[in-house]
């Protein structure tokens, strides 16, 4: 009896909500119609360094990194951003914080936990924020 009641309730509620749409921060979506395909975003080409939005933010990558490989044998990022190469390449050098293990001991090479650059540093595409916001960086790091 109880099962029948629940089944009936479910059937009834699905009839009731069939024509409904879902409202979220990203707008309202009709459940019946197909959602629109997202356009493929193009990665930004080379640019100048991008300002940070907050103090602890890992700097964003202001250039294309297509085909750049970071694996056990090689780290493409280091061919410009390592302390050895940054001057000749005219690149930003990696932070000293990357030469520490998790206990704060100084290391001679980039720490293995910092090796995979893209865990924190990401390239940019020309994509508008899905939800508008009025976030402003601190005046200490930006004039925005």
């Amino acid at each position: 009896m109880k099962t029948l009641f629940i089944t009936l309730l479910m059937a009834f509620s699905s009839m009731l909500f069939a024509e409904e749409s879902i409202d979220s921060l990203r707008g309202s979506h009709d459940l019946e119609s197909m959602s629109q395909d997202a356009t493929v975003k193009k990665m930004a080409k080379d640019g100048d360094p991008i300002e940070r939005n907050y103090v602890q933010q890992p700097p964003l990558i202001p250039h294309s990194i297509k085909g750049y490989r970071v694996n056990l044998n090689a780290n493409k990022c280091m061919s410009c951003h390592s302390w050895k190469n940054y001057k000749a390449a005219g690149a930003t050098k990696i932070s000293q914080t990357h030469f520490e293990d998790r206990d704060g001991n100084a290391l001679a090479e980039v720490s293995s936990r910092r090796y995979f650059c893209q865990q924190c540093h990401v390239p940019q595409a020309n994509a508008k924020p899905l939800v508008g916001n009025n976030f402003k960086p601190l005046s200490a790091i930006s004039d925005k």
């Binding site: 080409k45 080379d46 640019g47 250039h63 294309s64 297509k66 085909g67 490989r69 694996n71 056990l72 044998n73 090689a74 061919s79 190469n85 000749a88 390449a89 005219g90």
Partner: protein, 192 residues
């Protein structure tokens, strides 16, 4: 005199015709055979190539890109001009020998030999002033305005200084091997 000429004239004609035909068949056959070994399908007919370097190449811009122009194995690894092509082909016959020996017939063996193999190829490209790159990528045809900031900064200075493509662009169609920096030094690459 006329008598002799009359006797050998048909013979001479036949001989010339026959050698001409033989020449077409032999030279054509040789060229056909050479071209057959100068094809991507031939290159990846052995698993040493197919399972290792070919898989890596498939992820790169020389395999798949915006305009659909593709550079296959021989475009980079075999010179186009006849003479250098012959020399390269004869050198490459050692690959058949090592195929039979099974020098790199497992992924582990391949990884162990990889730095050595890559260094040889870097040396070859360094010595030829990156000839195979320049078959398509010609400095003279480069429009620096169309290039990215970093590309302009590097190209405009380094090409003037006489650097060659492979000095910086190594590991672009295949992955860099372990110890690649040492290999680059050994091959005499001037990375900066």
């Amino acid at each position: 005199m006329n008598f002799i000429l009359k006797r050998i004239k048909p013979l001479l004609t036949v001989t010339i015709m026959a050698s001409f035909l033989a020449g077409v068949v032999v030279w054509g056959g040789f060229n056909w055979g050479l071209e057959a070994t100068n094809d991507e399908n031939f290159c990846i007919s052995c698993h040493e190539m197919k399972d290792n370097v070919f898989q890596e190449y498939k992820e790169t811009v020389h395999y798949s890109n915006r305009t659909g122009v593709r550079a296959t194995c021989p475009d980079c690894h075999v010179p186009k001009a006849w003479g250098p092509k012959m020399i390269r082909k004869i050198q490459a016959s050692r690959e058949v020998y090592h195929k039979i020996l099974g020098t790199i017939d497992t992924p582990e063996k391949f990884e162990a030999e990889r730095l050595h193999i890559a260094t040889r190829e870097w040396k070859r490209l360094k010595a030829s002033d990156s000839l195979e790159c320049r078959n398509c990528h010609d400095y003279e045809s480069m429009d620096f305005v169309e290039q990215g900031q970093r590309a302009v900064a590097q190209h405009s200075v380094n090409i003037e200084q006489g650097k060659t493509c492979i000095d910086c662009h190594m590991g672009i169609a295949h992955q860099l091997p372990k110890g690649w920096e040492e290999g680059a030094k050994e091959a005499g690459l001037d990375r900066h």
